[in-house]
């Protein structure tokens, strides 16, 4: 303690000063200890809250995020390169419908009262569009290919459809891409049967939230093309 040597010659004064310094020192120590306690408390609180945050954010964010394929947002494109269409009509008509030239196949619109069965059926001839569109309304995904696709590719595509409810496949002459997947209001054109986006699209929209009539049957309708 340098202050002891440097100051005050008078002995009584000196005692008082020393006592005062000692008090200050004690006080200082107490304050230090108090701060340490505060720090430990805060530290514990932060760790506890962080742990809680980790637990809370886990399940909450997986179920709610729209990017998750199982929770596709029907108002948006959920797969890279797909086109979204809105304000589609859905009235029942028994006459032939003249669908617009684009998109082809249509992604919605007026349709026949009878839907095309789409419980994982692979058709080898073209479908009547008016029936197929009704299946889209019920939440089906329709995989179409332009005739001329290799037998191996047709088989590869068929394997993604066969036996999976709310999927169907058929050839479609004159469509603008070799392979097209269509759901109500959503369409993706592909040139390769191995494009990974095909699986993304099938996953996002098979019985997906884009269906205007969720739960509508894809059995008990038209069984043949």
């Amino acid at each position: 303690m340098p202050s002891e040597n440097s100051v005050e010659p008078r002995p009584d004064d000196r005692d008082v000063r020393v006592a005062r310094l000692r008090d200050a020192e004690l006080d200082h120590g107490r304050r230090r200890r108090r701060w340490r306690l505060v720090l430990i408390g805060l530290g514990v609180a932060v760790v506890a809250l962080l742990a809680l945050a980790a637990v809370a954010s886990g399940p909450a964010s997986t179920g709610r995020k729209t990017g998750d394929a199982s929770q596709a947002d029907p108002a948006k494109a959920n797969v890279a390169g797909e086109t979204v269409y809105r304000d589609l009509k859905s009235d029942h008509v028994t006459a032939d419908v003249s669908y617009p030239a684009d998109p082809n196949p249509p992604v919605g619109g007026p349709h026949d009262p009878v839907w095309q069965n789409a419980d994982g059926v692979v058709y080898d001839v073209p479908l009547r569009t008016e029936h197929a569109v009704h299946s889209l309304e019920h939440g089906a995904v329709w995989l179409t290919y332009r005739p001329g696709l290799s037998a191996a590719d047709v088989a590869r595509l068929g394997a993604k459809v066969t036996g999976i409810p709310y999927r169907m496949m058929s050839p479609r002459p004159g469509q603008p891409a070799p392979i097209i997947v269509t759901a109500w209001g959503h369409q993706l054109r592909l040139t390769s049967a191995t494009d990974a986006r095909l699986d993304e699209f099938l996953r996002a929209y098979t019985q997906g939230p884009q269906a205007p009539e969720p739960g509508g049957p894809v059995t008990g309708g038209r069984a043949t093309p």
């Binding site: 200082h28 720090l39 809250l49 809370a56 909450a60 179920g63 009262p113 009539e213 739960g215």
Partner: protein, 209 residues
């Protein structure tokens, strides 16, 4: 005199900041609590599930009464859709820890008065539902008469359902339930149009009754 503690103090301020940030994050991501027992979300799920149940029953009934192909297709469509939608509604109730039926009278969430004694005596608890005599009439009829009875009952049933969906959409609903309420409203509206045309074909008279 507290100079030596200044370093610690900075650490403490840092911790406080972290604490506030974590708290704010927690408030943001915390999963929403399940809807209350007397909420619109729970009331609509319960009542619409029960309402759908009768539509499924009437559709399956008419399928066994030799209906026309048009009515058979429509009935198959309604039975399939509404059975699945009923499952969605009941599934949400289960996930929320709410029972499929509650203590409150039906339609209380819509601010509607509880069903009166006469209606309850006829087996009616909600707008548009068919009473026991009407259901028995459908079960006894066949062919063209079954078509007509079914169409009249289902048009009225759908109008009641649309009314309920509209009321639900005015309240706070989880996003999935809101989506279903919207599709119930538009799909049933479209089916009312279809059914009115089918009914007019069979009775020679336009209109819904």
């Amino acid at each position: 005199m507290t100079v030596p503690a200044a370093g610690l103090r900075k650490v403490a301020y840092g911790l406080v900041l972290l604490l506030v940030a974590t708290g704010a994050y927690l408030l943001g991501v915390r999963p929403a609590p399940p809807p209350a027992d007397d909420s619109v979300a729970v009331g609509f799920a319960r009542d619409m599930a029960a309402h759908h149940q009768q539509a499924v029953d009437m559709s399956l009934t008419v399928l066994g009464r030799d209906p026309s192909p048009e009515v058979a297709t429509l009935a198959y469509d309604i039975a399939g859709s509404q059975a699945v939608q009923q499952g969605m509604l009941l599934g949400w109730l289960a996930a929320w820890g709410r029972s499929p039926s509650g203590d409150r009278p039906p339609m209380a969430w819509m601010g509607m008065p509880p069903p009166n004694v006469t209606d309850l005596g006829r087996g009616i608890r909600m707008p548009g539902m068919a009473d026991r005599a009407e259901l028995a009439g459908l079960r006894r009829s066949s062919g063209r008469e079954a078509d007509i009875r079914f169409l009249r009952l289902m048009i009225r049933h759908h109008l009641g359902g649309i009314h309920m969906a509209e009321a639900a959409l005015a309240g706070p609903l989880p996003v999935e339930e809101r989506r279903l309420a919207v599709s119930i409203m538009s799909a049933q509206q479209a089916e009312v149009t279809t059914m009115s045309a089918l009914l007019a074909d069979r009775t020679g008279a336009p209109g819904t009754r």
